[in-house]
């Protein structure tokens, strides 16, 4: 298994390199000049623009600029943005928020989604199954920002002003700690949560028809043991795949949620940086996200072996 892990890590190197190149090229090709973006709505003096363009080597051809960037990268230098901030520092401050948000979101997805799915599967065709089906359908069909704004207004503002319950902060607030993340994490998780519930339901129904489950029941095992050890364990394989892929997606997809709840994380930063044509920040963050994706995939693949011992890696 060790060799398998090493091989996977080596495979990741060209992927990351390719990703930085693509992103760098894409941001480079975006119309609009980073120096004018920096000036906002007013025109800068041409002499000032020239000095700044020169300072950041913006008049060099694309490949030369990329080469400078790459050379810096190999020395562990992610470069600086056009305001003179170190990209590493920007990432260091932004990432923790998003990692927290994504992890809490994935926990919510797992707990709520799988539970709902299991209940729906075991009560197939009954009232509770229909409730799960309809509510997941609703969550999937409502855009995330609508869910976000509505929950913010109802749980953040109204609950506080009308009932005096100040449990869910309207916007991110360092002092409130974990509480600050609950609402945004739920919003972020909502769509995936619905998918997890449906996936669990279908997968479990399928597995519960299998011979070994019938055998387990015939052996006289308790229903709980049958469902959890024999049913759910086998049903989890597609769900784990989905969750693993989703972790990267959650981190990258936090743009909207972080905007609504004012969380100073990666999504927020990425949006701003694309807008301001901050190449170095965009490339840095996206490369980091690519790494998260690769790592999450690796973990998923390794988890298969835990769930189903017949799967072996050599």
């Amino acid at each position: 298994m060790g060799r398998y892990v090493v091989r996977r890590i080596i495979q990741a190197i060209p992927v990351i390199l390719g990703a930085t190149f693509l992103i760098y090229a894409l941001v480079f090709l975006l119309p609009g000049d980073p120096i004018t973006a920096l000036a906002g709505e007013k025109r800068q003096d041409p002499a000032v623009v020239a000095v700044l363009r020169d300072r950041y080597n913006l008049d060099d051809p694309f490949f030369l600029q990329y080469w400078h960037y790459l050379v810096g990268l190999f020395q562990g230098d992610f470069g600086e943005d056009y305001r003179g901030n170190q990209v590493v520092d920007v990432m260091k401050t932004a990432f923790p928020y998003t990692i927290n948000l994504a992890l809490i979101a994935i926990v919510i997805e797992m707990v709520v989604g799988i539970t709902a799915g299991v209940i729906a599967a075991l009560r197939r065709g009954r009232f509770i199954d229909n409730v799960v089906l309809i509510s997941t359908l609703m969550v999937i069909s409502i855009p995330v920002f609508v869910i976000g704004f509505v929950l913010q207004l109802v749980l953040g503002v109204k609950l506080n002003t009308d009932l005096g319950i100040d449990f869910f902060p309207v916007s991110f607030n360092e002092e409130a700690g974990l509480r600050s993340y609950l609402l945004p994490a739920y919003v972020l998780a909502s769509t995936s949560l619905a998918y997890v519930a449906r996936l669990t339901r279908t997968s479990l129904i399928e597995v519960m028809r299998a011979d070994y489950v019938r055998t387990a029941v015939a052996k006289g095992l308790s229903p709980l043991r049958v469902v959890v050890r024999h049913g759910l364990r086998n049903a989890l394989i597609p769900i784990v795949t989905f969750l693993g892929m989703d972790l990267g997606g959650l981190m990258g997809g936090a743009v909207i949620t972080e905007g609504i709840f004012n969380i100073p994380g990666v999504g927020h930063q990425l949006f701003q940086s694309v807008y301001l044509r901050e190449r170095t920040i965009v490339v840095g963050i996206v490369s980091a996200l690519v790494m998260v994706y690769l790592f999450a995939n690796l973990v998923v693949d390794l988890l298969y072996a835990v769930l189903d011992p017949r799967i072996r890696y050599e």
């Binding site: 503002v157 905007g259 835990v306």
Partner: protein, 547 residues
């Protein structure tokens, strides 16, 4: 290696827990902004802010968010009256001139920087020399080009400065310095309240980078810690600020940084912040009812136009045609229905809050009159292909009103209208600058300092084609002469009259069509009082008190 199943799951859970706790960001340190409304003297509040675009250096800040913070941290030579925007002395004891060219500035006693250094004449001269030097690439550089010797510090693109001190600045003694201008400029005193003219302490020049994150000013508030990007900027009362200027009443203020105005507004409603000086459009329908007299709604400095690239597109060169287009626009309907009252119909090139503004100065030109418009349009020979293209930036909520204008033109003048969205305002400016776009365009201007001159020269003069915001390429020698005459006026009142004469030329020529002027809207919670906003829609924080 074999793990028992329980061990595997425990390990997984532990990993997750570890990751979560490792990422919990310093929630240990407790700050005092929670106790707003506690009723004690002093007290702390939080207010709304957007992330500033540059390091917090006065000479490099032109946008509203950075300026808001700098206005709390710095005190300038002059300040503007909150009611009529006339300049009044602040750090300056006197600003005198006999010929509007040589200006003598004397400073008051008692002002110090937050590190204890005294504010002297040298503090101003050093700051201005720094700002004027092209090698430092400060945004406010063009503001110094009226001072003698500026061309040596800013020789232009691809040239190197040959000096690092403005010849026109002379320190007489610790509290006196003189400024020599290249030509008379009657509005110079008014200009001095702009943040480009704030002083800098010696510490700035030794560590610029640190200063950008934690500026050392001479104002009523001093920075508390550092600018926490995308999160907050905290300031606290500066105890050694001269009482004559009015010490800050609050102990501290946290500028909470927001990405979306909607979120800030919700935080205001939940009393998590106490003041916001920007409201989202979505709040306009209910804010008056919800906040009552804690909702501030008053005219602001901005003016919105439809512009024409007169220099590059011959189709727009007939003033009669521009007049016809102007008269075909129903300003009242646009400001009411599309902007829900956050704008007012424009009736002068000058904002209503500026000394020298004349109500109804545009007269007939800005009065909706479809019949007359059509008649003028036909007389002027119309447009080639009977079509007009209007460009706008798609990022600032301009689509709706531009399309409304387009529909009115279509209906009232019987022309085809096409629209060209640009990604952002900067993209329009670049396209116009490089002469790649020749359609009509959306334009706006917000003042740097409250002078009538600031609404004329930077947008419509010859020098502004290269260095300023004259994107239309409008040139009129009479207008230039009128400006020069007004510049040479000995006193303000006389100057204003003469600038109005220049304004009259614009009203006749109509290089741009003024469509609306901006209204500023702010709101605050029950916890605070004495909240006021200035001409730029910014809070006057030093006077705010807990209620």
């Amino acid at each position: 290696m074999r793990l028992t199943k329980t061990m595997r799951w425990t390990a997984l859970a532990a990993c997750t827990a570890l990751a979560v706790s490792a990422c919990t960001t310093s929630s240990g340190k407790k700050s005092s902004d929670g106790d707003a409304g506690a009723g004690k003297k002093g007290g702390s509040i939080s207010v709304e802010l957007g992330e500033p675009q540059h390091g917090l250096v006065p000479q490099n800040t032109a946008e509203s968010e950075g300026s808001e913070v700098l206005n709390a941290l710095f005190a300038g030579l002059v300040d503007y009256d909150i009611k009529d925007n006339s300049p009044k002395l602040r750090v300056a004891e006197s600003i005198e001139t006999a010929d509007a060219t040589l200006w003598t500035i004397k400073l008051k006693d008692g002002y110090t920087f937050h590190n204890g250094e005294k504010v002297t004449a040298q503090s101003f001269v050093d700051a201005w020399n720094y700002g004027a030097n092209q090698a430092n690439a400060q945004e406010a550089m063009p503001f110094f080009d009226k001072i003698v010797g500026s061309e040596e510090l800013a020789p232009g693109k691809d040239k190197t400065p040959t000096a690092d001190k403005l010849k026109g600045l002379k320190v007489v003694d610790d509290k006196t310095f003189t400024v020599t201008l290249k030509a008379p400029f009657s509005q110079f005193k008014t200009m001095l309240g702009y943040n480009a003219f704030f002083p800098l302490p010696k510490a700035f020049f030794t560590d610029t980078k640190a200063f950008e994150e934690a500026p050392i000013g001479n104002g009523a508030f001093q920075i508390d810690g550092k600018w926490e990007h995308n999160k907050q900027i905290k300031v606290k009362r500066y105890e050694n600020f001269p009482a004559s200027d009015g010490k800050a009443k609050l102990d501290s203020v946290t500028f909470k940084i927001y990405d979306k105005l909607e979120t800030a507004y919700n935080d205001l409603r939940a009393n998590n912040i106490q003041i916001t000086d920007k409201l989202p459009i979505s709040a306009m329908a209910t804010v008056a009812q919800e906040f009552g007299d804690r909702y501030i709604y008053k005219p602001e400095s901005g003016v919105g136009y439809i512009g024409f690239p007169i220099a590059t597109n011959p189709a727009f060169q007939n003033p009669g045609l521009r007049k016809a287009i102007s008269m075909a626009i129903d300003r009242e309907a646009i400001t009411k229905t599309i902007f829900s009252g956050t704008r007012k119909p424009a009736d002068d090139f000058i904002s209503p809050i500026i000394p020298g503004y004349r109500q109804g100065a545009l007269g007939e030109v800005a009065t909706y009159n479809p019949a007359k418009a059509k008649e003028l349009f036909t007389q002027s020979g119309g447009l080639p292909g009977n079509t007009i293209e209007i460009g706008y930036n798609a990022d600032g909520g301009h689509k709706e009103w531009i399309e409304a204008v387009g529909n009115q033109l279509k209906k009232n003048l019987g022309i085809e209208v096409t629209f060209k969205p640009f990604e952002k305002f900067g993209a329009i400016l670049t396209a116009l600058g490089e002469k790649k776009y020749s359609g009509a365009f959306r334009m706006a201007w917000s003042m740097d300092y409250p002078s009538i001159e600031n609404y004329l020269r930077p947008i419509f003069s010859k020098v502004a084609i290269e260095n300023g915001s004259n994107y239309g390429g409008y040139v009129n020698e009479d207008f230039e002469a009128a400006l020069a005459k007004a510049d040479a006026a000995r006193e303000d009142a006389e100057g204003i009259k003469l600038y109005q004469a220049a304004d009259d030329i614009l009203i006749k020529d109509l290089p741009y069509i003024p469509v609306y002027t901006y209204m500023s809207s702010a709101a605050y919670t029950k916890g605070v009082k004495n909240v006021n906003v200035n001409a730029q829609g910014q809070m006057d924080l030093a006077n705010v008190e807990l209620a």
